[in-house]
């Protein structure tokens, strides 16, 4: 990846690389609560069938994943595991925070045990609001993420110079 790091990738090659990344996202499912049911519907049911978008939702471990979907209530107790999961994923990696609980604590905004937003420990690329969001909302989040990947400047991302606002669905 010397070319990418140096930032001297020819534009068409970047486009090609981005296109292939966009249509081969390995998505790790991190289901923590009721949102996981909607995620399951979006990923594993023939009605929604996320594989038609090129998302493969069954990597064997986070080390093979490009994307993780944090769906459900994040408690302080599981926070270290989430941090570790994120650190295990190879770059470039993306995070979708699905549902009110993962976004901001949701109905558990005053709880003693619930983390008020998973973005406190890992950077989130796409927020999918809802309690829980419908599978269509999650799929829209994935589609918006694919759009971003398509237009991404890999060299800037490699340097860490990329400063982009997270996507909020809806």
């Amino acid at each position: 990846m010397g070319l990418v790091e140096s930032g001297k990738m020819p534009k068409p090659l970047t486009k090609l690389l981005n296109l292939s990344r966009k249509y081969s996202i390995w998505a790790y499912q991190w289901g923590l609560a009721c949102c996981a049911i909607e995620m399951g519907a979006a990923f594993a049911s023939p009605r929604y069938d996320v594989m038609r978008l090129g998302v493969i939702p069954f990597p064997a471990s986070p080390r093979q994943a490009d994307l993780v979907i944090i769906s459900g209530t994040v408690t302080d107790k599981i926070l270290p595991a989430i941090r570790r999961l994120y650190e295990q994923m190879p770059d470039p990696k993306y995070v979708i925070s699905m549902g009110s609980c993962a976004n901001c604590g949701g109905p558990y905004w005053d709880s003693y045990s619930v983390t008020k937003g998973v973005d406190q420990v890992i950077p989130v690329d796409v927020y999918v609001p809802g309690c829980p969001p419908r599978p269509e909302a999650l799929i829209e989040g994935i589609a918006l993420l694919q759009e971003r990947i398509q237009n991404e400047d890999m060299a800037a991302r490699w340097r860490g110079a990329q400063d982009v606002e997270p996507i909020v669905v809806g």
Partner: protein, 229 residues
């Protein structure tokens, strides 16, 4: 009208529950003075309050002699009124840190109680619909009580949870590590004085964020629309 009222008043009196009376009699027979108070709701349940030191023994008697071998649950109650007022009604919210309220005004529920904390456990008799809800006071100055794990192995996790949530120690249960909470968690979150810090920082907004039902309060909206037009 007067006749109907008297029959209504008499009707509950007439109902008796021999099966639960028998259970209570057998329990009292075995435990003697340790049965402090009891209540039978015919056809529903049996509540028995036992002395603190007889807590473990009561479970033994229920399981071994009376056949209540199914352990249902074990937990505790904090009878202290909330020092933070009623959160849902911001008008009576109290500032932080709050003054500790007087718990003497609080009714301690079925079969009474003299202390702030009470433990309660439910056991059932397989093959019947009979259950006993056992309660016991936990001394205010020494939050210790016997364990049920010698009788019901399944009580171990319930005691761990009660220990982390209320800070009550079950003597004889050697493994009282945190069960649900992170191991470094400080405090006992189900105690009434445990502060929910999010609410201290941002007071509960009351019901201002609830929209009126359609047709319930749309006069203001229609006036605004009229002004725009």
């Amino acid at each position: 009208m007067a006749d109907e009222a008297t029959t209504d008043a008499e009707a509950p009196e007439a109902v008796t529950d021999e099966r639960r009376e028998e259970v209570l009699a057998a329990l009292t027979d075995a435990l003697g003075d340790a049965v402090v108070d009891s209540l039978i709701k015919p056809g529903l349940n049996l509540w028995v309050r036992v002395a603190t030191e007889a807590w473990s023994e009561a479970a033994d008697v229920a399981a071994a002699r009376l056949g209540f071998r199914f352990f249902d649950f074990l937990s505790a109650i904090d009878w202290l009124p909330s020092p933070y007022g009623r959160y849902e009604d911001s008008a009576v919210d109290t500032p932080f840190p709050p003054a500790m309220p007087d718990r003497s005004a609080v009714e301690p529920g079925y079969t009474g109680g003299d202390t702030r904390f009470q433990v309660l456990g439910s056991v059932a008799k397989p093959g019947t619909d009979l259950r006993i809800l056992l309660k016991a006071d936990v001394p205010d100055d020494d939050l210790r009580i016997g364990t049920w794990t010698r009788t019901y192995a399944g009580a171990a996790w319930h005691e761990r949870e009660t220990h982390e949530m209320f800070g009550i120690t079950f003597e004889g249960n050697a493994d009282l590590r945190h069960l649900y909470l992170p191991s470094e968690f400080e405090g006992h979150p189900l105690r009434k004085e445990f502060p929910l810090l999010s609410r201290v920082i941002k007071p509960w907004p009351g019901i201002v964020d609830v929209e009126p039902m359609p047709g319930e309060d749309d006069s203001a909206d229609s006036e605004a629309e009229g002004a725009d037009a």
